[in-house]
């Protein structure tokens, strides 16, 4: 690990083809985080020196590399050809956009079937077995639609800054109190950020679930699968390729193509412009539902759309590393493990993120506890069933 840290000290982001599609402003952002982001990163990621940022650079580089590989795969070219044929992101942009619009055309008559298929595809995964049981038992509703995103209750950093004039007394008090974050605040923000990063990473990973239902999709349009692939890899690439700008409400309302919202403790609302984006949003919604109750309303109210940028750029590697610590046969326990892990101090999350034998020991204990919790629940409803 120290060797790797030294290496990162020298080269910072380690990107294929010099990070041809990685916008310089995004590189700068990852390499020199603003203080409020850095505080969170320090709280949840192990340090590899360089003022605690080398680890972030390492996982962001890894997530970016994976996106390049996928884009090349779905465009049917090698990594070298990809970078040669498409020297900049703007040269890829028209392909991504035309795939997006062609998908809308192809899906148009099958929206309802695809909405049901999206929920089934997600819930049929072992990872979401317990969630599926809750849905079947009427304990949870997943309201999933191929439709315009609903971001009425979301907030950008810009809007949050502009809000003081409109604040209620309670909100003003909260804001005054939070000018200097307490240690508890920083702890909760770090844990929430980890949970959201994990959610984004998992949701990017689950973009590609469409391969599981290729037969059904081919009946709608045999070109869908390939178009989905280009769209998913291409939009993931856009997280790295678009310049780092402060979001505005206008931008959010016009550019967003999906939303995930926990409407209440029993309802998750997901909206997506098409099938893979809806799948992505369902996964994000479930993970957000699993983790939001560790924070207060004041802390949740300060979570902005802008903060998703970093979570998206680094999430997939965080999620993959997390999954590697869990045996395949224990995948059904993942939601219980996450729920339990978030109840522990952020230091434990740091240990898990660091990997190695310490992380494996922590995970073994979490798996044991998760199995017990799930078995207790199952035994109370069906004494014969046990994992």
């Amino acid at each position: 690990m120290p060797e790797r840290a030294n290496m990162k000290l020298k080269e910072a982001l380690d990107l294929p083809f010099g990070g041809q599609y990685f916008h310089p402003s995004k590189k700068k952002y990852v390499e020199k985080l603003p203080s409020h982001e850095k505080e969170i990163v320090t709280g949840m990621y192990p340090s590899l020196d360089k003022e605690n940022q080398a680890y972030l650079e390492l996982i962001t580089s890894d997530s970016y590399k994976r996106t390049c590989d996928r884009l090349a795969k779905y465009l049917g070219v090698s990594l070298e050809e990809l970078h040669r044929q498409y020297p900049s992101f703007s040269s890829l942009y028209s392909i991504i956009l035309s795939n997006f619009f062609n998908i809308i055309e192809s899906e148009n008559l099958y929206k309802e079937e695809l909405e049901i298929l999206a929920v089934e595809t997600v819930l049929d995964l072992p990872e979401f077995q317990a969630i599926k049981e809750m849905v079947n038992d009427g304990l949870l509703t997943i309201d999933a639609r191929i439709d315009t995103p609903d971001l009425t209750n979301a907030i950008t950093a810009n809007e949050l800054k502009a809000k003081p004039g409109k604040l209620t007394t309670a909100e003003k008090d909260t804001q005054n109190l939070s000018k200097e974050y307490t240690a508890e605040d920083i702890e909760v923000r770090a844990k929430r950020s980890f949970a959201k990063t994990l959610a984004q990473g998992n949701a990017i990973n689950k973009f590609y679930l469409f391969h599981l239902v290729e037969d059904k999709l081919n009946e709608i349009d045999p070109n869908l699968v390939k178009m989905y692939g280009v769209l998913c890899a291409g939009t993931t690439m856009s997280y790295y390729s678009m310049p780092m700008v402060e979001m505005s409400r206008f931008f959010v309302d016009n550019a967003a193509v999906g939303s995930a919202e926990v409407e209440n403790e029993n309802t998750i609302k997901a909206r997506g412009a098409n099938f893979p984006i809806l799948v992505h949003e369902i996964v994000k919604g479930i993970y957000n539902w699993l983790s939001y109750d560790i924070a207060s309303q004041e802390q949740l109210d300060k979570e902005t759309l802008d903060s998703e940028v970093l979570e998206l750029m680094s999430g997939e590697t965080i999620y993959n590393n997390f999954r590697k610590l869990i045996d395949v046969k224990d995948q059904v326990l993942i939601p219980f493990i996450i729920k339990d892990l978030l109840r522990h101090p952020a230091e434990v999350i740091k240990t898990v993120n660091a990997g190695g034998s310490k992380a494996q020991n922590v995970m073994s204990n979490l798996v044991k506890r998760a199995r017990q919790a799930y078995n207790e629940w199952k035994n109370s409803s069906n004494p014969e069933e046990e994992l």
């Binding site: 995103p149 959010v252 550019a255 957000n288 919790a373």
Partner: protein, 86 residues
């Protein structure tokens, strides 16, 4: 002489202080028996059924997170979709 006197005093004390007849105790008036209707043994109220909480259910139903977004693909993508709808 003195002994006899002592015995006398002792007898006196004994009789007046320790063996004095008690004042007659009034018998309490006994209420006539009133027939009381037989009361069915009261049924214990059933314990309220507390719905089981699934271990994954949120523990803070009083809070609500903000929605998360997917995007952007293009700054004008919604304009295109809306145009198609109309």
């Amino acid at each position: 002489m003195n002994d006899k006197f002592d015995d006398l005093v002792n007898d006196l004390l004994k009789n007046t202080l320790f063996e004095a007849p008690m004042a007659p105790v009034e018998e309490p008036e006994v209420e006539p028996d009133i027939e009381t209707p037989e009361v069915e043994p009261e049924e214990k109220p059933a314990k309220p059924v507390v719905p089981k909480r699934h271990p994954l259910q949120p523990t803070r139903p009083d809070v609500k997170p903000r929605p998360q977004a997917k995007g952007p693909i293009s700054p004008d993508v919604q304009a295109y979709i809306n145009a198609r709808k109309s």
